[in-house]
């Protein structure tokens, strides 16, 4: 190939790639404009802070899901896992209150226990997928049922409630703020930044993308495929637990209907953000934008009274489809 006409080509391809990546951002901007038009209070700091803080639950989970999906795996158990971990944390904290008081010491033990349980649960999924050689869809579908049953069992069919005084100590973790920014937003942002750096700039992240792109090639390139896969599931479990750590102070209870369908929301956010379901490419900031978009839809529908609130999920579904279509058309023109 003669190298004479290379100058023109790179610029147009660059433009096309960028447009595909900007899709979710454009959608976000359009929604923000719509919200601002509909209601004066939409752009208030209080409302925006509410939205981003609320997104932190699904958001932190979805960041974990981004890693798993990039390796071409999937984890359907995250919602039930979150409910189970929240329940365990409540039980543990409640049982420690008589001996340790209702201050931060009991709560910290509960938080630590939750993080450990989450990581272990994720690792269990991972072991079944790697050593057990079972499809991730099947493993995590089974885990979904198991965790859901466990939380129902722990709550005895009812609800587990966090001790009232402990709840008073703990709730500032969700409602408090640092330098004016709500704590959940800070934690969400930290997780997102660390995750983006890990995925883009570390060997672990590179290996994850390689495994998702072509597992055989990864194997032939001396990558320890099973070990990397296992770590992504354990990481997902850890992040699910982190979301539970933020959930308990806000809601103070866990039962069989806690965190239902969170897995679908998390996966939807990941897809809207530009990560491909078949693996090989992950975009953390896209996931963050995706989560905020999903949360925004509910918020915007609450801003006005002429569209029935029953249609919330219809709009969510439509946005997901449109987002994916926009990404597809970019990719095929390339």
């Amino acid at each position: 190939m003669t190298p004479t006409t290379e100058a023109a080509a790179p610029r147009s391809r660059w433009a096309r790639i960028r447009l595909g990546a900007l899709g979710p951002l454009i959608a976000l901007a359009l929604l923000m404009i719509l919200g601002a038009i509909l209601n004066d209070h939409f752009l208030s700091l209080a409302n925006l802070a509410n939205i981003v803080a609320r997104s932190s639950f699904i958001g932190i989970i979805a960041i974990g899901a981004t890693f798993v999906i990039t390796t071409s795996g999937i984890d359907l158990s995250v919602g039930s896992m979150a409910a189970f971990i929240a329940g365990m944390m409540i039980i543990i904290i409640n049982s420690l209150v008589p001996s340790m008081g209702s201050g931060w010491s009991a709560i910290l033990v509960g938080i630590l226990a939750g993080l450990l349980i989450g990581t272990a649960a994720g690792a269990a999924n991972g072991i079944l997928v790697t050593a057990g050689r079972i499809e991730p869809f099947i493993v995590t579908l089974g885990a979904l049922g198991i965790f859901r049953a466990l939380i129902t069992f722990l709550a005895n069919g009812g609800t587990l409630n966090l001790n009232a005084q402990a709840s008073d100590t703990y709730s500032p973790l969700y409602s408090g703020n640092l330098l004016g920014i709500p704590l959940p937003i800070i934690i969400f942002a930290l997780v997102a930044i660390i995750a983006e750096v890990v995925l883009r700039r570390t060997t672990f992240g590179r290996h994850i993308a390689a495994i998702g792109s072509n597992e055989q090639v990864a194997r032939y390139s001396a990558i320890k495929v099973d070990r990397v896969r296992l770590m992504t599931y354990a990481l997902q479990g850890f992040l699910v637990a982190l979301a539970a750590v933020l959930y308990v102070p806000k809601f103070g209870s866990a039962n069989s209907s806690t965190a239902v369908l969170w897995e679908l929301q998390a996966i939807a956010a990941v897809i809207i953000g530009g990560t491909t379901l078949r693996g090989g490419f992950g975009r953390i900031w896209g996931t963050v934008v995706g989560v905020v978009i999903l949360e925004l839809i509910g918020n915007i529908l609450n801003l006005q009274s002429f569209i029935s609130p029953y249609l919330n999920q219809a709009f969510q579904g439509a946005i997901i489809i449109i987002a994916v279509l926009l990404q597809r058309s970019r990719k095929t023109t390339n």
């Binding site: 190939m1 290379e6 147009s12 391809r13 700039r201 060997t203 390689a210 055989q216 090639v217 001396a222």
Partner: protein
């Protein structure tokens, strides 16, 4: 069999002054090409010369930017996406276009199933498929699943599919790239049957000797331009290669430098066993190129994969540089100084959806770390070095590996393998599906590596290549070593005899 078809017969498919540009990049410059009924017209040229693009235009998968297509005497615009098949122009891709899970009969009738009262008439389709396969002398069970067939048989099914669609022009893209000698022979017999029925065949190949055997006319492309269209009878391998590359190709194979007699043994394999192979014993000296010849399926790849830890060893010992070694996985063999270049560059060697840089450094990321982070500047420097050392040509820095030509992909994979600075390199079919010019480059690189003191095991099904490069040749058959040849003994005849099992067993 290079008779010329009488020039009085008008061509069935002709391309007149065809040019094609992708955006701003011109790829074909005013090409004239035609093929007559019953003729085999071969197209040769380096990777990137424009052969694939011309093929796609002739079969409707791409539209020319300017110029016309004339089919059956009438100017036409060919429909896209393979719909030209309905008109009788069929393209058989290099990566065969078969659905792996379907049965042979289903594949043949895909999209044109025979129905009776709304249901599929399986019996009739099976009978017709069987009759078709019999006419073509193809020994394949119509009820067999595609993924159980050998590559050669899959190709036959593709041809049967084309015939059942009453193809009048058959365009075949490198059909012999993965075929053994015997299978190639069967394919050529098939082609003769087709041409006898008046089918026109356009045949793209890198194997010049085959082209000369089967083709009536040969067209040479270079850099998107038509260099010449000649009768195959007047063509010689040298003149063909010269037209393709544009320069003298007197030394396709570099001179051999025999390693020192007392060069140390870098690799010693004793009684190695694994699935498909038994009792493999051989030695490799420093600076040596050891060729592994054998028919496809003789177990050579299995030997390589067992040595580097990709598959499980059932027995035997391996010494590297005098020390016993047991590699349980690829990471260990890389750390031990070995490297294996797979023959499946797109499926197992390179991530086709990623760029050059991440592919090059995938084995050696730990060399480009700053703290816990990957230093992309360091990676880019490594890529520049590899591009210069191996002459890897890409349109620009952001292309995906899947968009590179086969030769450049192979060179990139070589670069990736060499990044880990191995002392022992096992190359499996290093020039499969690659044009002559790049082949020459790779041969010279291999010889240079050996001269530097690297030791190379060269697995190849191209006998000329094995003979031209190797210092010693080991021949395998049915999973065992059946011969070892050195010096003057390395000839085509000696190798073929052992491959076929004609010669008595030579001392291992």
């Amino acid at each position: 069999m290079s008779e010329t078809i009488g020039t009085a017969v008008p061509p069935i498919l002709a391309a007149n002054r065809i040019s094609k540009s992708f955006g701003d990049i011109p790829v074909l410059f005013s090409i004239d090409f035609d093929v007559r009924p019953g003729e085999v017209h071969a197209i040769i040229g380096e990777n990137g010369a424009g052969k694939s693009t011309l093929m796609k235009i002739l079969s409707g998968f791409e539209q020319p930017t300017s110029g016309t297509i004339v089919y059956d005497g009438k100017q036409v615009t060919l429909p896209p996406n393979g719909e030209a098949e309905a008109m009788g122009i069929v393209l058989i891709h290099q990566e065969l276009n078969l659905a792996e899970h379907l049965k042979v009969v289903d594949s043949i009738f895909l999209g044109r199933e025979i129905e009776r009262f709304g249901f599929m008439d399986s019996r009739l389709m099976r009978e017709q498929a069987q009759a078709l396969l019999d006419t073509l002398h193809v020994n394949v069970d119509p009820a067999a699943r595609i993924d159980t067939l050998s590559v050669a048989d899959k190709q036959m099914v593709e041809i049967a599919k084309a015939i059942s669609r009453e193809a009048r022009v058959l365009i075949m893209d490198e059909p012999t790239a993965v075929l053994s000698l015997a299978e190639t022979q069967t394919l050529f017999e098939q082609i003769h049957r087709l041409t006898a029925r008046g089918v026109a065949i356009v045949f793209i190949s890198h194997k010049l000797d085959e082209v000369m055997r089967i083709a009536n006319r040969v067209t040479v492309l270079r850099d998107g331009q038509l260099i010449a269209t000649v009768d195959a009878a007047v063509l010689t391998p040298d003149s063909a290669a010269q037209m393709m590359v544009g320069r003298e190709l007197s030394n396709l194979y570099p001179p051999k430098h025999e390693p020192d007699v007392d060069a140390p043994r870098v690799l010693s394999v004793r009684h190695l066993g694994a699935q498909g192979i038994e009792d493999i014993s051989f030695e490799l000296r420093k600076g040596e190129i050891l060729g592994f010849a054998g028919l496809i399926g003789s177990g050579r790849t299995a030997v390589a994969e067992a040595i580097v830890g990709l598959t499980h060893r059932t027995g035997g010992e391996i010494d590297v540089n005098g020390h016993p070694a047991h590699f349980a996985n690829v990471a260990q063999s890389v750390a031990g100084g070995l490297a294996y270049m797979t023959k499946d560059r797109k499926g197992k060697g390179l991530l086709v959806n990623m760029g050059l840089r991440p592919n090059l450094t995938l084995l050696t990321l730990q060399r480009h770390l700053r703290g816990p982070f990957i230093d992309t500047a360091s990676e880019t420097r490594a890529l520049d070095r590899a591009v210069r050392r191996f002459d890897i040509r890409a349109r620009d820095a952001t292309v995906r590996v899947g968009q590179l030509s086969g030769g450049n992909q192979q060179k990139l994979m070589l670069g990736k393998t060499m990044e880990s600075e191995p002392g022992i390199i096992i190359m499996d079919e290093p020039t499969r599906g690659i044009d002559v010019g790049t082949k020459q480059q790779i041969y010279h690189i291999v010889a240079a590596l050996a001269a530097e003191g690297k030791s190379i095991i060269l697995i190849s099904s191209e006998l000329q290549e094995v003979i031209g490069l190797s210092h010693r040749v080991i021949v395998m058959r049915h999973g065992r070593i059946v011969g070892e040849l050195e010096g003057d003994q390395i000839t085509e005849e000696q190798i073929v005899r052992r491959q076929m099992g004609i010669e008595g067993k030579a001392a291992a």
